[in-house]
């Protein structure tokens, strides 16, 4: 298991998939607080002859800007990064080669999933901490509790999307076949979220985790508001892992 886990980290690092994702996180962690701090100066530089007055940036707005960018562009990069994690190896024969050795099928999948989750967890925590500290140095301190909870929301949602990508990558034959439905589902779930945002159904919807980031940062929502969307998302993650594992255990390689 450790051998496969390390192989997964090394392969994805060398093929620049993990670095690409981490660089995107780092990019937003550095750029967003800076952009918000100097937004008025940037606008006045480009919009000469007009007077546009922006409200003074708050630390919460800067941190939220980072979280929002990661929840959109960061997650799209993640989908591209992870769409081939199983499908590519099935396609090029590496899966067959590995499974002809004393490696269980669940073990093979678990190593991949653990490597992916590790990169997401470490990357998001490190970059969120960086974004928080950088925001603090430029604009002042954002609410710590709210920032931690909002980061946890983003983390769980990112793991949820990563698991969808992993599941499609396991079930389907090629990386493109896996990436297409995941992207479609990602956009579709965003649209559905807009439609149900004011209904009770939103409590049981994974995208609500993203909707809660702003109220958490502004201290208008509490940890208790996370209970249902977090529980539902976690259950969905577990169900998808079970589905992928079960189908893979019966799959012709």
């Amino acid at each position: 298991m450790t051998v496969l886990f390390l192989k997964e980290l090394r392969s994805n690092w060398r093929s620049f998939r993990y670095p690409a994702f981490l660089l995107i996180l780092l990019f937003f962690a550095i750029l967003d607080p800076l952009m918000l701090k100097y937004m008025n100066e940037i606008i006045s530089y480009f919009a000469t002859g007009m007077e546009i007055i922006m409200p003074d940036p708050t630390p919460e707005a800067a941190f939220l800007s980072y979280l929002s960018d990661v929840s959109q562009i960061g997650i799209m990069v993640l989908i591209f990064m992870a769409m081939g994690m199983v499908a590519r190896e099935k396609e090029n024969g590496v899966t067959g080669w590995l499974l002809s050795k004393p490696i269980g099928r669940w073990q093979y999948l678990a190593a991949k999933l653990l490597a992916l989750y590790s990169v997401i967890i470490i990357g998001l925590i490190a970059c969120s901490a960086l974004a928080y500290l950088y925001t603090m140095s430029l604009l002042g301190q954002a609410a710590l509790n709210g920032s931690i909870l909002a980061t946890i929301c983003l983390l769980v949602f990112t793991i949820y999307i990563a698991t969808i990508t992993f599941t499609f990558s396991t079930l389907l034959k090629t990386p493109l076949l896996a990436g297409g439905p995941t992207l479609l589902l990602f956009f579709l779930s965003g649209i559905i979220n807009m439609l149900i945002t004011n209904s009770d159904a939103a409590n049981f919807y994974p995208n609500t985790l993203l909707s809660l980031m702003k109220p958490l940062l502004e201290s208008t929502a509490t940890a208790a508001d996370l209970t249902w969307p977090m529980a539902v998302t976690t259950i969905l993650i577990l169900l998808m892992i079970l589905l992928a594992g079960y189908r893979f255990s019966k799959m012709e390689i």
């Binding site: 024969g93 590995l98 002809s100």
Partner: protein, 326 residues
């Protein structure tokens, strides 16, 4: 340990009634074969015969539609983790390695999967890289290797773990003559110490190294036999006769008159004499004394043995004729 388990009697691979159906296509049709422990067993057949499908079934990568397989005495159940995989190593037709790894890292990965101890691992990896002339390229990524280098690395990865059963799918297809020689030499050295089950379309190589062969075509087993039995069974008895050039025409007329002779084929100053079926032994007994009696000076009279390639095509031809007749 490799070799120890080979002392156990029984088969390394037992496949009974193996059938594999894909939608609209039967890749294997009730195939039986048995691979003896410690033997080198060739698995032959034209492209699309079902060789790779059979290998994938044996490795547990795809399920058989019907039939039973035992590997190293352990029954195969598709989807289960099998103990025999610890003693087996497989080389695919086109060796592949995880993306981004160097040649040395790929071998370390294999060694770690099979849990080789560190000292043994490093010593074996160095030795194999050197033997397969990959030591200079060991630090380069496998993706940048030529096909031949990848195949050499694949063979090294198989030998690294000293497995009891080696399953090799076309192990020398991409190798240059020197690479082929090295791999075949190693396979010959394994005889009696490990079981080698390998598919190949290079019949010359199979004839050189194998004890037994199984031939399949269009999913059906045509034959399995010891290589010598096979060659004897399908030996179209032929004799090469060389006479003085001035006696050639007279010798040809005389040979053709013999009732045991089916035909003669001139070959670069020699005469290839083909016997009537079942009458091959009469040729040296009758023909040679007759030629000498007639004053023809015979400088060469040798049996031209059938090789595996001729036997292989004859078996395929018989199978196709049989199908047409049915």
């Amino acid at each position: 340990m490799a070799g120890e388990r080979n002392k156990i009697k029984g088969y390394a691979i037992e496949a009974r009634g193996l059938t594999k159906e894909f939608p609209g296509h039967k890749a294997l049709d009730n195939v039986d074969f048995y691979v003896k422990r410690g033997s080198i067993h060739g698995f032959l057949g034209p492209n699309g015969a079902g060789k790779t499908t059979a290998i994938k079934v044996i490795l547990g990568l795809i399920p058989a539609t019907t039939g039973r397989v035992k590997v190293l005495g352990e029954p195969l159940y598709f989807g289960s983790k099998h103990n025999f995989l610890r003693y087996l190593n497989y080389l695919p037709q086109d060796p592949v390695f995880p993306e981004g790894l160097t040649g040395r890292e790929a071998l370390h990965l294999v060694a770690d999967i099979y849990k080789l101890d560190r000292e043994k691992k490093n010593e074996r990896i160095d030795r194999l890289l050197k033997y397969f002339q990959l030591d200079d390229a060991a630090g380069r990524r496998v993706g940048a290797y030529s096909r031949g280098m990848q195949q050499r690395l694949g063979v090294a990865a198989v030998l690294l773990t000293e497995p009891e059963l080696l399953v090799l799918d076309e192990p020398v297809s991409a190798l240059d003559p020197e690479g082929r020689r090295r791999v075949l030499e190693l396979i010959i050295k394994l005889k009696g110490r490990a079981t080698v089950f390998f598919s190949s379309h290079i019949l010359d190589d199979v004839e050189r190294v194998c004890d037994y062969v199984t031939i399949i075509d269009r999913g059906r087993k045509l034959l399995d036999a010891g290589i010598n039995d096979l060659l004897n069974r399908y030996a179209v008895e032929q004799y090469l006769v060389t006479v003085r050039p001035e006696h050639a025409d007279r010798a040809a007329k005389l040979i053709l008159k013999n009732q045991s002779v089916s035909r003669i084929i001139p070959q670069l100053g020699k005469l290839l004499v083909v016997s009537e079926p079942g009458r091959s032994s009469a040729i040296p007994e009758e023909l040679l004394p007759e030629l000498i009696r007639q004053g023809i000076i015979v400088t060469e009279f040798t049996q031209n043995r059938t090789n595996l390639e001729e036997a292989f095509f004859k078996i395929l031809e018989e199978s196709h004729h049989g199908e047409v007749a049915r």
